[in-house]
Symmetry: C2
Subunit: 322 residues, 2 copies
Amino acid sequence: MPPLLKKKKKKKKRKRQRKEMRSGDIQVLDGGNASRLLHSVDAFVFDCDGVIWKGNELIDGVSDTLHLLRSQGKKLVFVTNNSTKSRTQYASKFLSLGISVSQDEIFSSSFAAAMYLKSVQYPPDKKVYVVGGEGILEELHLAGFTAFGGPEDAHKTIQLKENPFFHHDNDVGAVVVGLDPYINFYKLQYATLCIRENPGCLFVATNRDAVGHMTNLQEWPGAGCMVAAVCGSTQKEPIVVGKPSTFMMDFLLKKFRIDTSRMCMVGDRLDTDILFGQSAGCKTLLVLSGVTTLSILQDSANNILPDYYTDKVSDLLQLLGP
Amino acid sequence: MPPLLKKKKKKKKRKRQRKEMRSGDIQVLDGGNASRLLHSVDAFVFDCDGVIWKGNELIDGVSDTLHLLRSQGKKLVFVTNNSTKSRTQYASKFLSLGISVSQDEIFSSSFAAAMYLKSVQYPPDKKVYVVGGEGILEELHLAGFTAFGGPEDAHKTIQLKENPFFHHDNDVGAVVVGLDPYINFYKLQYATLCIRENPGCLFVATNRDAVGHMTNLQEWPGAGCMVAAVCGSTQKEPIVVGKPSTFMMDFLLKKFRIDTSRMCMVGDRLDTDILFGQSAGCKTLLVLSGVTTLSILQDSANNILPDYYTDKVSDLLQLLGP
């Protein structure tokens, strides 16, 4: 065989081997491994958008699946990077979709931001400026902090008169940035001045998702957009408390005392949910009901491989049900 | 001598040598080197904000200095990363401050964006969406392109009703992002959808300055803030046409046919002006009348060293004048 042809054949073989190895790493969920998965874990940690619901619609079969898992004695936890709502508001959303979930089972990135400030013993006499939704303010207030900004600054504008001076509060010691559909220059300027001019001011991001599910028809800019804007003007990197940062998982661990190897993270995003689960040492299940398609999962550019994948959460019900 | 002490002494010597080398690299402008600089160049390229003016105030002695340089036969060029104005608007600003400058001597990043699209033969039947000021729209229109967005979208809001759908124009083939004091979610969403959903859509940034001089009292978020926001939601990097990208310098070279080694870049920012001049092979003069202080220049963390530095442009007048 001529050397060039030999080389090509060898290359083809290596490519095939790699492909086999890749598909060997990821298992499509079936009756056998679903049952093994169920018995190997004590808790299921669910992402919400794209897993439980899309926009304001519940994904088919979710309610019965959660019921089955609860009946098997599994602990359920709902983790969401969406910071616009507080845990109370999330519990109401679950209820409006016909699912009863207690506030203690919900971990939103708005709550995570408040818990992060608690964890670093942020002084209660200092204030927090918020670029984001009502949910962040509510969680910060519940945790005992003085927070302002957010929705109340939605319609504020800057004054571009002769030599403008913008006043900001020197007592702000932390800025929390999350998804903000009412982002404006006033808020960006306020956050920028606090971070640049108040000594030691913390810059906390609820999460950095590039896009989010405000609708199930399109992808809209996510918190990653607002967080990047503040990075751009301050030249600083934030402390991220939402997925894929493990801050929330460490918090969950302390609260529920379940070893992460006995947890299964269920999500629709490779770079947040699956990475989050893997970083924490959980088993991981990707559902294709959200942003990730089978071709994205199998693309050679993707290096984040879940343990299992399936179309939607309710496949568990079909595979495990009577 | 014990080995540790010897090592420490050696380290101290190396540190001293590095310090000497550093201060040897940068020369404070004096009568001798100012005269040599003048004779070694045919053109002076000036940054505007922090060099010619601060906010709406001319910096002392600028007018007479420019007059002196012109009388010596030097070509003058004014390059600004501020994209909110067009060249015509800049010429008016110069005039309002008592300086006569022709439109041909002005290179704003708004003009650079239009010239970039010309240089890549952007099809005139395609549209351009603008996140930024009137200056960008005006330059794009003057170059024959159909552009929209900018100020006309300043007060638009998104509709967060049940399952919202946001319409965008599929004929947009380029998004230009610059400083936008009226940034909002509508504009970020429009830009994001064009870049993510219109095949091959270009993402052009006028510049990425973190902060800008909207006032001489404070630093306000610059174009880098808006550009980063769009990077955050699209996960794409822009083509930058303003400083320190050399696109404008390449354009200047073609226009004036002056070798860059015979040009002197005069600016107040290390990471845009001085880097821009150095990348293009120009001589560089840092003035301390803008954002850079002597301590920033001499900080060991700074690696961008101009050939010369001085307090302000008019020092040239004092050192070279009769």
